[in-house]
């Protein structure tokens, strides 16, 4: 059993093995500490020249990464908590994401910025957020999210070695400790995987009737949605399919549209706060694409900061029950 954490660690290791242009950079990434969440553990021991610890300077280190990438290296920057991505927005939007286009396509910025998003660990308002919504849709910036349904390390490897553009790579704190799910272990489900470099997964309860509702979710929320899909089938006899993209931005939703064309009912699930979250764009595109007749709802965090106290945090963040409830309601809407 490989955890997402191990997979990511292995992914970075593979990158370092395969290319001497890779540099892993971030706060506290050196051994024996190996990073706040241990994703870089062991790497500085084996690749001492290629793993670089930095001062506490989120904007600065992303900017340094932009420079390295422009000059042909493959820097992988760790931002310790996704909450601090706020400090790098200028470097991401006005620098990393613009240089290629602004130079009339003369240069490339193969930068990866990795960061753990998400709550459910009681870290409170500045260490629990899913701030990716503020960066999705920034032209020139790719956003990719790891999932338990695939090899997170391989996904990261592609972002580092095969993508010539800047990638914000999202991890979820709760996913780290989860095992990667072999699809044949998902015995309840039939799984289809698209053959995009950053694939989209489509799950359906094995042998179930035609789905009547389509769920979509990414990252750790996909795990909650998967649980919801099961319980919807077994407890409510509501059959659904679940679309799990790993490539969030730029948005490319053809797999989702195929599914929704059948069901006409779309439920998006995400852990970020709802307003202008990922689901908003998904729904807007689905409606533009499919035209009238679509029903849709979103499940997301309440539009407020994330409280530290466990009960409060649970109330603010979306839970499996919330998904089920929304799905039941949506399946009845007309």
């Amino acid at each position: 059993m490989t955890t997402i954490l191990e997979s990511l660690n292995r992914g970075l290791r593979t990158c370092l093995e395969e290319s001497d242009r890779v540099y892993v950079i971030g706060e506290d990434v050196l051994d024996p500490y190996g990073g706040a969440f241990k994703v870089t553990r062991g790497l500085s021991t084996d690749y001492p020249e290629h793993v670089i610890t930095t001062p506490v300077s989120e904007a600065g280190i992303v900017g340094v990464g932009v420079g390295m990438a422009l000059r042909g290296l493959f820097p992988v920057i760790e931002i310790m908590f996704g909450d601090f991505i706020s400090l790098t927005v200028d470097q991401l939007i006005n620098h990393a994401a613009k240089f290629r286009w602004m130079s009339n396509d003369q240069v490339r910025v193969p930068l990866v910025v990795r960061t753990p998003m998400g709550g459910r660990r009681g870290y409170g308002p500045t260490h629990s957020q899913s701030l990716e919504k503020h960066l999705l849709g920034a032209p020139g910036l790719r956003v990719v999210a790891a999932t338990a349904l695939g090899d997170a390390g391989e996904l990261l490897r592609k972002a580092v070695l095969e993508d010539e553009d800047p990638v914000l790579f999202l991890e979820h704190k709760v996913l780290y400790a989860k095992p990667i799910i072999a699809h044949d272990e998902l015995s309840d489900f039939e799984v289809d995987v698209s053959d995009d470099p950053y694939p989209t997964y489509r799950l359906r309860i094995a042998g179930a009737p035609t789905p009547v509702i389509t769920l979509t979710a990414y990252g750790y929320s996909a795990e909650l949605a998967r649980e919801a899909v099961k319980r919807l089938a077994y407890e409510h006899e509501i059959f659904s399919d679940l679309i799990v993209p790993t490539h969030l931005s730029p948005f490319e939703l053809s797999d989702l549209f195929s599914a929704v064309r059948q069901t006409k009912r779309l439920l998006t699930v995400e852990e970020g706060t709802m307003t202008l979250g990922w689901g908003a764009e998904v729904i807007a595109r689905a409606l533009e694409e499919l035209g009238a007749g679509l029903h849709a709802q979103r499940v997301a965090a309440g539009d407020m900061p994330i409280p530290a106290a466990g009960l409060l945090e649970t109330a603010v963040l979306p839970q499996v029950e919330d998904i089920i409830e929304a799905a039941v309601a949506l399946s009845e809407a007309n």
């Binding site: 500490y33 009681g122 308002p125 409280p307 106290a309 109330a315």
Partner: protein, 307 residues
């Protein structure tokens, strides 16, 4: 302001120490949420510095805020309750360990982010033409954040009454200062024409005295100054994440601020203080534990109505 007596210094430090130790002890019981950054080893800083506090002065703290909060006069029980997510917590359980607001005390978990806020508060005091000032705490690692320098420039240009206190505990999380910090800390302030005093000490009395000139400067000249304390933390960065050399820790442990200060007291006096602090801590955690949990129903929208 009259200087606190040795007993008061000892008591204040011991309150912090025993509070923090209790937090670490109780953590495995699952009483608390998230994690915590304890102040064990650094008590002389908060106590020595904040003994100069006057009514209405402002304290701006950071992720390692328990010590500052207790030295400021914050209640142990409401801090314990905050860590436990009780409705009686300093911030009703919303903030948790790093996000504390009470009276003129403010903390936030974004390193460096509170420093311009502290300067803005100082500018407000200057505009009011009162004699209040701001104490703004930061760690050595926080000197990596650019907004700190934006603030030093702004505060110096505006001659804001603010004292920047750098607690150099020689590490940012796992990273020793040597890998984090080019040049010398005091020069970071001098670069903006801000006067700075440094001390390498864990003696609360020494620290208290050493800061006096900078404090006077801030109150009289109504301009920023800085104070750097070279210190050490004994406990892990948060909990369980300590990769420092145990020998190094042991070496610094010999400079524990508590025994240093205890020695200035009669044994009986020490014991009396210890017992009363013990009781206070026990009561605080007991009460906090029996306080009601913060209720989801209490959650409000983050914005008031636009009028």
């Amino acid at each position: 302001m009259s200087r606190p007596d040795n007993a008061a210094f000892y008591r204040r430090m011991l309150r912090i120490r025993r509070f923090e130790e209790t937090v670490l002890d109780l953590f495995p019981r699952g009483l608390f949420y998230g994690t915590t950054h304890t102040y064990i080893g650094q008590e002389a800083n908060a106590v020595g510095v904040l003994a100069w506090l006057r009514e209405g002065d402002i304290v701006v703290s950071n992720h390692r805020c328990h010590g500052h909060f207790l030295a400021y006069g914050g209640s142990m029980r409401s801090l314990a309750a905050e860590l436990m997510g009780r409705s009686t917590g300093v911030c009703g359980g919303r903030g948790g360990s790093q996000h504390i607001q009470w009276r003129d005390f403010y903390a936030n978990g974004i390193l460096g982010g509170t420093v311009p806020m502290a300067a803005g508060m100082a500018s407000t005091e200057k505009l009011k033409e009162g004699d209040k000032m701001v104490f703004s705490f930061m760690g050595d690692g926080t000197l990596g954040e650019g907004v700190v320098y934006e603030t030093l420039n702004i505060a110096a240009l505006g001659a804001f009454p603010i004292l920047f206190i750098v607690e150099n505990n020689r590490y940012a999380q796992s990273t020793p200062t040597r890998l984090n910090l080019a040049g010398e800390i005091p020069d970071r302030f001098k670069a903006f024409g801000i006067p700075v005093e440094s001390i390498d000490s864990t003696d609360v009395v020494e620290i208290h005295e050493a800061i006096e000139p900078m404090l006077k400067y801030v109150r009289e000249k109504n301009g920023p100054a800085a104070f750097v304390v070279h210190t050490y933390r004994f406990a892990p960065h948060s909990k369980g994440d300590d990769s420092r050399d145990p020998e190094e820790i042991a070496r610094y442990r010999t400079k524990d601020p508590l025994p240093i200060q205890a020695e200035r007291l009669e044994e009986a006096n020490q014991r009396e203080i210890q017992e009363s602090v013990e009781m206070e801590v026990a009561d605080a955690f007991e009460q906090a534990e029996s306080d009601p949990a913060a209720e989801p129903a209490s959650l409000t929208s983050p914005l008031g109505k636009s009028q």
